[in-house]
Symmetry: C2
Subunit: 491 residues, 2 copies
């Protein structure tokens, strides 16, 4: 197995190789679309299940809306339509027929042209709010708290596995409320759900904030986001929660009678995270040996590798290994015992390091004599020898320690990555030399934001929610500013 | 709430009304596509989760493949392509632009035409086998046992909620094997998984069989199926498992080196069930009052309805109700306590009958005095009074009884619905007067099968797997036959 390109050599190449070699995903025969392989999908399933539990705990229900959006519905909310128009896959026909020039080939049947084109959903506000119109008459019908797990398509020109693909999997929450305050509360609540999930499950600290107007979701009044920092100093937007105001209610005429008997437009939110989180997870923790997975999201938490010569030794070791496996499983820990006799232990060690299995137990003949096992941590690549009888208890604690340590390491990295700068020269220097989040004053105009983006490729990632007020002068215009905002180059 | 149309009055109307009134699904603004509403989706989630567990228990892993199939891949397996060509949604463009004649409207950008059209997957054999080509080199890479949960699109002209929709949700298993025998074993194993699921979870007995050549999946060597009987005497194909031979391996050149060092094409299976099962579940058990759900698939298994006058009484009742709820939840039973004070108990009773909640507990002031509750069964619409202290234990048993009784009733119905006939006159008479499954001799030709279909609309649903051999003469040609096959009109 060829070694991974190292991060320092070529970070981007390291990422692509890691995704493929660790069997997470690969490019498909369809431009920009990926195949999510079983090992990658197993991690996504764990993320999905945990998020789904959180959505249900906060009162949401799942539903399913159509893949296609008729063009007339799609264009109803103009800002949203304008925002997505340039990257829409469009269905125009509903039938193929045999090519008259070649009986083994098919062509699109020109007689099966749709009267109205269908857009493959890039997001579902339009189709969902055109449905909500029939569901909402009175304040009694509100709130509607619905989430959908689905595939969406955005025809991106430059794609990268997980980070930016033409088709991706995601969840999109779409809620309707009787009051503005309630909708804003929902928007903030879901941002908090995402932030907690990122920190507690992905072991990935984030900055919570709101987007500037130019970075807002098309059709939103306010976009809240969580931003994470990758090891190469680039930021990654990991989740967004939008307060949509009454924009979609107005576009689709969704009115209700309020408690006072008056007619009002409903208030909306939408919020989503996608398979992009897989990219964030990979880049947040992994190293030159391969994936580093937090135990909470690892499909295999512990792998047991026997070190043996001959069938008889393997049998003796297996007896002990199966017993350890059984006891760990009783504690709800997922364990693989790899007794395959085609690959050498060294190969297996490298393979499970590549795949980010948090804990490896090696068990050989001498271990049996000494009643010990060798326990290796994937995150620190350290090993220690422990008595067999203590194994389950030790590993139960170790998985928690690893989860915590991975988070602490990522938190320190994130905090170290934030640099306060006060001049544009310093801004450019830090961006080039160190990268990371840059905390700087901004005059609040789209012009300055755009100018900085043009000159440096850095964008305003967010205005942090917990921002301290601080008088200052903005980087380029030199106008007075009341607070710093967070800049970075981003995925 | 207007009453449901009764089954005897208009079965088809009853079904459509029930689906909508019980909040399971509704038609959307997109031709032939449905919205699956939260209550319907909650049932589908339970089905999905249980099937997923069974797939994993039998060694399968989930993965995800692209929504789109490039035309050149789609047409590679010719029979499969031919079978689906007439119902394909085709993506031809990847961008919209502002209508030059109307700045508020969008049009398809003619300059954004795809070089190669993309088919929205009607099924994924083509895209998956074009991927497997890179995964399979040696017998060591086999078997590949993968399942995918996904949406697919088949452009059906006549659609009905759940039963036949342009877009539907399903799972599709796609496995690759080193030998024919192993692939056939897999095909049969998954049919058994489906049959067991239908019987144990959906409480819906099925006939297991194989399809005739003309009813086979396009591209399969053999299609196994489970067929269920609906209350109106029409059959419903509830799941299929296909032995695909080497057809897809040949179309996509998927070869491997076998144990003997020789190169061979891989053997394939595919198998799937869809949201169509929702239609089967609804029609198998429900009655003129609404849904009847087997407890295993009911999102709410028990509802508690307080009968009260005034706030004080409600409080006293609620205290007891919450205690019952808590104890039932401890037993893993899902319970809703409906203490909404806007709707009368009678309204609630009708509502939960419509929604098929298996058990209803009514709790009034007199019950508190007597320390009793009234327990009503949805399936039989019977009531009984039980001491409060026995409630949890009683209901735990009752849910099992209901599950069993629903199944037993459906089994009797299915068995009664099978009629043996020996002449075509009798065949036509039974089909018109009684419907159901008709067991009759067939000469084994596509001609006779087609003639019967043309004259009666009945098709051969399957040749049962456990069929007894029996000499006879076929219905129309009068040729000798060695076994009966199962005919029916079908959904």
């Amino acid at each position: 197995m060829a070694k991974l390109t190292s991060r320092s050599e070529d970070y981007s190449k390291w990422y692509n190789e890691l995704v493929v070699k660790a069997d997470l995903a690969e490019n498909s025969g369809v431009r920009g679309c990926m195949v999510i392989k079983p090992y990658g999908y197993a991690i996504w399933e764990k993320m999905r299940d945990e998020l789904d539990r959180k959505f249900k705990e906060t009162g949401h229900q799942n539903a399913y809306f159509p893949l296609f959006v008729p063009k007339s519905l799609f264009e109803a909310e103009e800002k949203n339509a304008e925002g997505f128009a340039k990257e829409c896959a469009v269905v125009t026909h509903y039938r193929l027929k045999t090519d008259p020039n070649n009986p083994h080939k098919l062509i699109v049947d020109p007689e099966a042209k749709l009267e109205e084109e269908l857009i493959v959903r890039p997001t579902s506000e339009a189709i969902i709010w055109s449905t909500y119109k029939n569901w909402i008459q009175s304040y009694r019908d509100l709130p509607i708290l619905i989430n959908q797990w689905a595939n969406v398509v955005r025809w991106e020109m430059r794609t990268r596995l997980f980070l930016r693909t033409a088709e991706f999997l995601w969840q999109e929450g779409h809620t309707a409320h009787a009051t503005k305050a309630e909708a804003i509360e929902e928007t903030e609540k879901m941002l908090e759900v995402y932030a907690t999930f990122a920190e507690n499950y992905m072991a990935m600290p984030v900055i919570k904030g709101i987007k500037t107007e130019s970075e807002r979701f098309a059709g939103a009044e306010e976009t809240y986001c969580i931003e994470a920092m990758m090891q190469d100093g680039k930021a990654l937007q990991a989740g967004t929660s939008h307060f949509l105001g009454q924009n979609f209610a107005k576009a689709f005429d969704v009115k209700f009678t309020n408690r006072e008997g008056k007619t009002e437009f409903a208030w909306a939110t939408s919020w989503g995270v996608s398979t992009r989180l897989m990219g964030a997870l990979i880049m947040a923790h992994s190293d030159d040996q391969g994936l580093v997975l937090p135990p909470t999201l690892a499909p295999i938490q512990v792998v047991i590798v026997p070190i043996f010569k001959g069938e008889e030794q393997l049998q003796q070791i297996s007896e002990v290994a199966f017993e350890i496996q059984r006891k760990l499983k009783e504690k709800g820990i997922s364990v693989k015992y790899d007794n395959d006799d085609q690959n050498k232990p060294g190969w297996k060690f490298a393979e499970y390091e590549l795949k980010g299995v948090p804990v490896r137990i090696a068990l050989g003949a001498r271990d049996l004599e000494n009643k010990t096992v060798e326990i290796a941590r994937r995150d620190t690549l350290t090993k220690e020898v422990k008595p067999i009888e203590e194994v389950e208890l030790y590993i139960e604690g170790l998985l928690k320690t690893i989860q915590q340590d991975i988070y602490t390491k990522a938190l320190k990295f994130k905090e170290d990555s934030i640099t306060k700068v006060d001049t544009f020269e310093e801004f450019k220097r830090i961006l080039n030399e160190k990268g990371g989040f840059i905390s700087a004053h901004w005059d609040g105009t789209a012009e300055e934001e755009e100018m900085i983006k043009e000159k440096t490729k850095a964008t305003i990632r967010c205005i942090p929610l917990d921002n301290e007020l601080e008088e200052g002068t903005s980087l380029i215009s030199g106008k007075p500013s009341k607070q710093r905002v967070i800049f970075a180059k981003a995925y």
